[in-house]
Structures are given as structure tokens and as C-alpha cells.
């Protein structure tokens, strides 16, 4: 499955990046392709291109604040979780993506 994700948290110092890493690590183990955009202390990094979003089978928002430029994902099925959940129970997050 091709997945795109966005992580974001209030201070953007640590959890944003931990969640990103955890999602990437888990996706690899489960055999999915993934690209994660981080919206943290250094601004938006690894920004997802419109084509990547269009081509994605699933979208994950692991965020405790509103995702910036969320309209890019209009029409997509988005699984929204808190950053903590992405860090602590990543498998559960992926399980919610369905088929």
C-alpha cells in the first residue's frame, strides 16, 4: 500500500519527529511504502507533492494540532490519530487503514 502521512505537535520539538520515525519504521516492517511530512519546529519538511497525495492509497494524520494546508488532502480517506498513539501503538494506527 502507498501511504502518505503528516505529523505535527504543539511545540514541534520532539514528538513530531518521533511519530514520523515510528510510522516509517512500522510501514517498512509491514511492507508498505510511506512518505511522512513533518510540521515541526523547523517548519514543514518533506512536503508532500500533490501527485504523491493523489497517488496515495491512504492518508494518516498523526497530529495534536491542526494540519497545515489540509485542503491538499480533500477527497482522501484520512485516518486521524494523536501523536502519542502513533508513537506508542503504530500497528493499531495501520490496522485502521483497512484493506
Amino acid at each position: 500500500m502507498k501511504i502518505v502521512a503528516v505529523t505535527a505537535c504543539p511545540t514541534g520539538i520532539a514528538h513530531t519527529y518521533m511519530a514520523a520515525e515510528q510510522l516509517e519504521k512500522t510501514a517498512r516492517r509491514l511492507g508498505h511504502g510511506i512518505r511522512v511530512e513533518t510540521q515541526g519546529s523547523m517548519g514543514i519538511e518533506n512536503k508532500l507533492a500533490a501527485a504523491e497525495i493523489r497517488a496515495a492509497d491512504a492518508v494518516i494524520f498523526a497530529a495534536d494540532i491542526a494540519v497545515q494546508d489540509g485542503e491538499r488532502f480533500a477527497g482522501k480517506k484520512i485516518v486521524e490519530v494523536g501523536v502519542q498513539e502513533a508513537i506508542k501503538r503504530p500497528e493499531a494506527v495501520f490496522a485502521r487503514l483497512g484493506g
Binding site: 511545540t11 520539538i13 520532539a14 514528538h15 513530531t16 519527529y17 518521533m18 514520523a20 520515525e21 519546529s41
Partner: protein, 839 residues
């Protein structure tokens, strides 16, 4: 009648210290001086400190001094000089800046830790614990006659005797004390000796047929009432001083009438709506550990004295104060500004750990006092003190001065009718060099002019005394007086390291003149067979643009140079720094001034002459990098600024400072220099290159057993390592973050983090508790490692990237295991650094 008009310059208003200085300035002249506040409309006899204080004068009030009498012209000239030169520096210790409001957010242990919490305002830092003792009521002022008979004359006599005794006792206390404490005693002494106060008491006894006690009480009420109605909070607090003195007078007359002394019964905390400063020392001797006061401000004398005596103090809401039960255990936290009555075990433990950290931080800080000033790249710069009176010497050495860069000799000459003799001066200079124990003392020769007329100096009044015949310019006409001072200096130099510095020099001829007088002085001592130094270094103040531009030619005559930055800036900018309307122009960052200063420094270096700077700028944190860049050998400042300057200096890189100076000298205006300095301080004062973590930021086997204790300990580690200025502010920021949700990862790791302006540079601190503990009430996996990330407001991208990388690594079990299994600090540090990718 002659008059001088001015805007009152002090933030604290016209309080006892400037008032007694004003009174002293008037004293030598046969003239009656009246002070008028043109805003409040009040007038005061300048001979009465109390009336001056009660004139309700606050900063920027338009004021007028009028003199009348045979010496009114001389008095006015002296007062003009006093207003311009002495008054602006006459404020007391200013209240502690920054955390004046105390902690706004507290770790949960304060709520869950047991006890009842009283939030208030900090008065004096530190933590103290003891049983509550309540002090209530004020001293009483008995109606019965102190002399035993209803005889006004005898009653008056008893009062006069008591006043003289109290004044003498306070004078003795002032002489034994130093710094702000001495100032308090002096201020109280002034009230005890005040003619207006004494006159009012005498009138009440003679005409009102009152007992001395009742008269004192009424007079105190009169002046305290005036002060309480003042527009300045600072002056309102002075009302307590009047009662303090009144109580001491009553005690002299009637025996103990003030509050009963607390019996010795172990450490105690005093809870009282207010307290007299003079009650503190005795209470401390009996075991006082803290103060919980009512409506008392940080500038009240009791608060200043508590800070000096290291007694933690807070002020709390009077209602809450009233509910404190005597005998209960109380904990006073003068840093956060709170008190806890009957604290629980968890909170006591928290404080015990905090105090251990505080002791460690104090130990490290005091190390700065012993260390010489030097930059990170080991360039040495002597950090010295400016001293105006012998009492300040002890303070200077205690603060870690490496020398006295400016010892003003005017205190010996002012306020008297005859000049001081050679012996008196010799004693004063020797006292200074003896206290120095081998460190250098630079004594400045007499620096007065037509603005500060001394009865024994025949200086004609001038229209513009600051551009007139002052300092070295009158030496030729008063050779005897100058030789006398030089003889005393030569003798003192024979016993210690003393250097002589001449003020107001503009040309080499003036230095030659003083050198000639110095030779004559030495010859006189030789002929009298008085031991003295064979040679002594003779230097000059660089305080005129002429001297600053001709350091090279002056170097042929002078052994060393010291920039008098205040006067130099004043002369460069053609601005009277006492004039509030022009304050904006008095700016040391004006490129013209910086270029002049840098040029003078370059010339001194080329001529291989030692170069110092003694003025307010020496202690300025903002200017420090530029002064380092200019290559000063010494910076001499107010003693209180010394430890901080040494610490800041140690973080600077001299080479980087030189590059910064090069850029600053090319700036076109002060605002551009200021922006440059701000940028330098934020990003590149050399410190930013330090690694994000260090051995001092890793602790294994920590005693912390809760999130509160762990976060506190990590913040203290960062403070100790110089990464944060105020650990409390960081702790608060971390807890605010923790409040949105716990940073326990559920992997045996907690990752508290905070962004705070208190953070100087981004850093990561790590601790492993000796016993794993639960981070929050609901958490399942005990925490075995805690990593605190501290980031400055608007911190550097580079550091944030390292920390983002570290956060990513924490997701991986191998990395966590490496951190948790490292046997030594070095191994844990290596693991942490591998996570940061900084090797």
C-alpha cells in the same frame, strides 16, 4: 537668592539615601537651603532628611533648590555639581529584577505534596523551614513621663539623650556593616538625628505637655502618615523606618517596649504583617529561618536587609497571613514567592533535593569569584572594581575584584573646611592597599572643579564648570595640596601595590607637571626620611576626546591609561547625561564613540601601554564583546557586576569579538550596532558552538523518584552547566508542556521538553533514576530514563535538526537500550551523542 532647577533623576524617588547626601552637600556652607517639589508643591528644609523624604518626590518631578545666606553662591555651585554628578548614582540597591512576581506555574508536587500553599511575592531568595512564630502589634509609646516627673525640661533632656544614644549606636552599626546594610543604618541614623523630627518632638513636649514617649509616637505618626500618602511605593515603605526609629527611641527611654523576644526553641519562621529592619539581626541570632510578611514591598528596608542577611522572605495576602497558625511547620520559598504551611513529605523531599542543587550552584558561582577574568580562548582581562569610599573595599574583594581600577579620593576632600592631611590620606590609601593583599589599587588624584567648590580651594565660579578649571587644570595653582596627596600616595605605594592616575588630562605637558610634583613630593619625603616607594606608576584617565585622540603622544609621558567612559561619552556627544531630555543621545553604541574608543585602544597597544576602562560601560553585558574586541587589559566596574561579567567573559571568544568589532566600526548609526550585537549574542557569542550535550548533563543513579523531582533535577543540571539563566522558568515551561499531555512514551522513557527564553542555548540533559518510578498517576511502565530537551525561543535551526534526529532515534529500541544499559557517564554520553549525530 540663588537657585538650581532640575528633574529628579532617581527611580526610587527622594528617599533617605539621596536625601542624606543632599543634606551633607549643603552642610559646609553658611546658607539656608530649601528644596521645593514643583509638582507636589511641597517644600522642605534641606537640613532635614525626613522633610526631604516627606516632600513626596518621585522620578522626573521638577525640583528647585534655593539657597540664601552669606555663602549662597558657593552653596549653589556645589549643589549644581551634586545634582549633576552625585545624585544620579544615589539610588539604593534596586529591587531584584526578573522574577519579581515569583513563579506563575508550579509543578504538581505543590498541589499533591501536602500542606496549604500561600502564593505571594518574593522578597528575599532562598528556602527556609521552621515553626511559625507570630509577631503582632507595634511598639507602644508610653504616656508616663520618662523622667518620672511631669517636668517638660527634664523630659526634653531625656529625649535628647536617648536620641544621641540611638544615633551613636546606629552610626556604629553603619561603620561595621557594608553595602546596602550600611546604607540602611545610615538612613536610620539620619532620621534619629533629624532636626525636624527632634523639633516636632520638642514642641510636643514643651507646648503640648506630652511625655517623651507620647511625643515620639505622635511625631512618628505625623511623618509616617506623610510618607504613606506618597506617590511612590518606595517612599510609602519608608514609613516603617520612621516607626522603627521611634521604637528604638522609646526603648532607650522606657526599656523594652517593643515586641517580646522569641525564646530560643529551634528554627522558626516569623509571620507578621510587617517588621522593622532593626528587629531582624536579633531574630536571626535566635534561629530565624524565614519571613512571611503582609503587605511589604521588595524595596522595604526589611526586605533589603533580609536579602543581605540571606533570610528567605515572601509577602502574602494579609488575609491569608492572618490565618497562619502559630506553631505550625512552615516552609518559605523566597525564590518562587510562596509559603507552605505544614508541608507534606513529598514536598519536603522535593525541597531537600532542590537545596542540594542550589548549594552546588552556589559553590560553582563562588568559583567565579576566585577565577581571573578570561575569555574562552584564554585571553586574560582583569576584572576590577570602582570604589568611592573605603567601606566599599570589602564588598569589592568579596565580589572577586582582581584589583581596584578606580579608587576615587574625593571622599577625603569633600564636606569639610580644611583639606585632609598627609597622615589621614596615607592611612586611607594604606587601608586600601592592605585590604588588596597584593592586588593593584589605582588611586585617582583629586578630581573636582568649580562645580564642587571646596572652601580651601580657591576656584572662582565658572559659567560652565565641566569645561572649566577642574582636576589637573588647577593642580599648578594648588601645588602644595597636590604634593601632599602625592606624598601620601608614595608612602602607601611603599607598602603595597598602588598606582597613581591623573584625571582630565588633555596634553603631555599636564602629565609632565604631575611628574614634576611627584619628584618634589619624593624629595620632601627623602629629606624627612619617611619610607616611601622609589618609583610608582603614573597613568592618566582618558576622558576627554583630546586625550583619546592623542594616546600615542601621551604615552611618552604616561605609564598607563584608563578610559573614563562616562565623561568621555559626555564630551564626545556634547550631552549632559543628567539631562533626561537628552538621554537618547547619551548612547555608547554611537559609532563615533566606538571609533574613538577603538582608536585610543589601538594607539595604546601600539605604544605598549596597559589600558583599562573604568566607567559604567565596563560592566555592560551588551558592550562586553566590543570591549573585548578592542583589547582592553582591564575593565573596572561596580562590584556587584563582577561575577556576572567574568562568567559572560568566559563564554566569549576574543577572536570572534575582534571580528564583531570590525563590523560594528563600519556601522553608520547606533541602531545598526545594536542590531549587530543582538544578533551576535543570540547566535554567535562563541557559546553556540558547544555541543548540545555534555558530561555535566548526564546523571546515572539519580535520587529523583517522581516526574517533579526528575524535571527539577534536569533543569538544575542545565543551570549548573550554564545552558539556562533561570532554571525555574525552564521548569515552568516544561510543566506547561507536560500539562497538555504527559511526555511519558510508555517505553520506559519520558521525554519532557520546553521552549523558553530562559534557555541560552539548546541542550539535552539525561538522567537515570536509581529506582524506576511511575511518571504520571495512570502510566503503566515505570520510567527508567528521562531526557529533557531545552530549546531557546527562536533557537538555531542547526540545534533543532540535531534534536529532531535524536527524537527519531528514540523510537528505536537499540538506541534506548544503549542509553539505559550504559555503565558509565562517558558511555551514556557517547550513546546520546551518537543519537545526536555529533559523534
Amino acid at each position: 537668592m540663588a537657585a538650581v532647577r532640575f528633574a529628579f533623576p532617581l527611580a526610587g524617588g527622594l528617599h533617605a539615601r539621596p536625601a542624606s547626601l543632599l543634606r551633607d552637600a549643603c552642610r559646609p556652607f553658611a546658607a539656608a537651603v530649601v528644596f521645593r517639589n514643583l509638582r507636589s508643591g511641597k517644600r522642605a528644609d534641606a537640613a532635614s532628611v525626613l522633610e526631604l523624604v516627606a516632600s513626596d518626590t518621585v522620578r522626573n518631578d521638577p525640583c528647585l533648590l534655593e539657597a540664601s545666606g552669606p555663602q549662597e553662591r558657593e552653596a549653589m555651585a556645589a549643589l549644581r555639581a551634586f545634582v549633576e554628578r552625585d545624585l544620579p548614582g544615589a539610588d539604593d540597591e534596586t529591587p531584584p529584577a526578573g522574577s519579581a512576581a515569583g513563579a506563575s506555574w508550579l509543578p504538581p508536587v505543590f498541589v499533591a505534596g501536602g500542606g496549604s500553599l500561600l502564593r505571594g511575592r518574593p522578597l528575599a531568595p532562598g528556602v527556609g523551614r521552621g515553626r511559625v512564630r507570630r509577631l503582632a502589634g507595634r511598639a507602644s509609646f508610653p504616656k508616663r513621663f520618662a523622667s518620672g516627673r511631669r517636668d517638660a525640661a527634664q523630659e526634653l533632656e531625656s529625649f535628647r539623650r536617648a536620641a544621641a544614644e540611638v544615633e551613636a549606636a546606629l552610626a556604629g552599626s553603619a561603620a561595621r556593616a557594608a553595602g546596602p546594610v550600611a546604607a540602611i543604618f545610615k538612613a536610620q541614623q539620619a532620621i534619629a538625628a533629624d532636626p525636624a523630627f527632634a523639633g516636632r518632638v520638642a514642641g510636643l513636649i514643651a507646648k503640648g505637655r506630652l511625655s517623651a514617649g507620647a511625643a515620639i509616637g505622635q511625631a512618628a505618626g505625623h511623618y509616617a502618615g506623610k510618607l504613606r500618602r506618597s506617590s511612590s511605593a518606595y517612599l510609602r515603605e519608608r514609613a516603617d523606618d520612621v516607626y522603627d526609629i521611634a521604637a528604638q527611641l522609646a526603648e532607650k527611654l522606657y526599656g523594652a517596649v517593643s515586641r517580646p523576644a522569641a525564646p530560643a526553641s529551634g528554627p522558626f519562621v516569623v509571620a507578621a504583617s510587617s517588621l522593622s529592619a532593626s528587629e531582624l539581626p536579633a531574630l536571626q541570632r535566635r534561629g530565624l529561618r524565614g519571613l512571611i510578611l503582609g503587605d511589604v514591598g521588595a524595596t522595604a528596608h526589611v526586605a533589603i536587609l533580609a536579602r543581605s542577611l540571606s533570610i528567605p522572605a515572601v509577602s502574602v495576602d494579609p488575609g491569608a497571613l492572618a490565618r497562619i497558625v502559630a506553631g505550625a511547620e512552615a516552609l518559605v520559598d523566597g525564590r518562587r514567592g510562596l509559603a507552605v504551611i505544614a508541608p507534606g513529605a513529598a514536598l519536603k523531599r522535593y525541597y531537600r533535593l532542590e537545596q542540594a542543587s542550589a548549594a552546588e550552584i552556589r559553590r560553582r558561582r563562588s568559583a567565579w569569584r576566585r577565577l581571573p577574568g578570561r575569555t574562552r580562548d584564554k585571553k586574560r582581562i582583569e576584572i576590577a572594581a570602582n570604589v568611592g569610599r573605603p567601606e566599599e573595599l570589602a564588598t569589592a574583594w568579596a565580589a572577586g575584584a582582581q584589583g581596584i581600577g578606580l579608587f576615587r579620593s574625593e571622599f577625603l576632600f569633600l564636606g569639610r573646611r580644611e583639606p585632609p592631611g598627609e597622615e589621614e590620606q596615607f592611612a586611607a590609601y594604606t587601608r586600601a592597599t592592605r585590604s588588596a593583599g597584593g592586588r593593584p589599587v589605582i588611586v585617582r588624584t583629586l578630581d573636582v572643579g568649580g562645580d564642587k567648590p571646596l572652601p580651601y580651594l580657591k576656584l572662582a565660579p565658572e559659567a560652565n564648570p565641566f569645561l572649566g578649571r577642574r582636576a589637573v587644570r588647577f593642580y599648578a595653582g594648588h601645588a602644595g595640596l597636590v604634593r601632599c596627596q602625592l606624598r601620601a600616595m608614595l608612602r602607601a605605594a611603599g607598602r603595597g601595590r598602588l598606582k597613581i592616575m591623573v584625571p582630565m588630562v588633555t596634553a603631555p605637558g599636564e602629565v609632565r607637571l604631575v611628574r614634576g610634583l611627584l619628584k618634589e613630593a619624593a624629595a620632601e619625603l627623602r629629606s624627612r626620611r619617611v619610607p616611601h616607594a622609589r618609583s610608582v606608576e603614573l597613568g592618566i584617565m582618558v576622558e576627554t576626546p583630546a586625550a583619546a585622540l592623542a594616546v600615542d603622544s601621551l604615552a611618552r609621558e604616561a605609564d598607563f591609561f584608563s578610559v573614563g567612559s562616562n565623561d568621555l561619552l559626555q564630551y564626545v556627544m556634547a550631552v549632559d547625561r543628567g539631562n533626561p531630555a537628552l538621554a537618547g543621545l547619551y548612547d555608547p553604541l554611537h559609532p563615533a564613540f566606538l571609533r574613538l574608543l577603538a582608536g585610543a585602544a589601538r594607539q595604546a597597544r601600539r605604544a605598549r601601554r596597559w589600558l583599562g576602562l573604568c566607567g559604567e560601560m565596563a560592566g555592560s553585558a551588551e558592550l562586553l564583546p566590543l570591549l573585548v574586541g578592542m583589547g582592553f587589559d582591564e575593565l573596572s566596574m561596580a562590584p556587584g557586576l563582577i561575577p556576572g561579567t567574568k562568567e559572560r567573559l568566559a563564554r566569549l571568544d576574543a577572536a570572534a569579538c575582534r571580528r564583531l568589532l570590525g563590523r560594528a566600526l563600519r556601522c553608520g548609526e547606533a541602531a545598526a550596532v545594536r542590531a549587530l550585537l543582538r544578533q551576535f549574542a543570540a547566535a554567535d557569542d562563541g557559546s553556540a558552538r558547544r555541543q548540545v550535550t555534555a558530561a555535566g548533563l548526564v546523571r546515572l543513579g539519580s535520587p529523583s523518584r517522581s516526574a517533579a523531582e526528575a524535571i527539577r533535577e534536569l533543569c538544575a543540571m542545565l543551570e549548573l552547566d550554564g545552558r539556562v539563566g533561570d532554571a525555574l522558568a525552564l521548569e515552568e515551561a516544561a510543566w506547561r508542556r507536560e500539562e497538555s499531555y504527559a511526555t511519558d512514551l510508555g517505553l520506559g522513557f519520558a521525554l519532557p521538553h520546553a521552549k523558553s527564553p530562559a534557555v541560552r542555548e539548546a541542550a539535552v540533559a539525561f538522567l537515570r533514576p536509581s529506582r524506576p518510578f511511575r511518571w504520571a498517576a495512570g502510566s503503566r511502565t515505570p520510567v527508567r530514563g528521562v531526557l529533557l530537551i531545552a530549546v531557546p525561543e527562536g533557537g538555531g535551526e542547526e540545534h533543532l535538526r540535531l534534536i529532531a534526529g535524536l527524537s527519531r532515534r528514540l523510537v528505536h529500541e537499540e538506541f534506548r537500550r544503549a542509553l539505559l544499559s550504559a555503565r558509565t557517564v562517558a558511555a551514556a554520553l557517547a550513546a546520546l551523542r551518537s543519537g545526536l549525530g555529533s559523534g
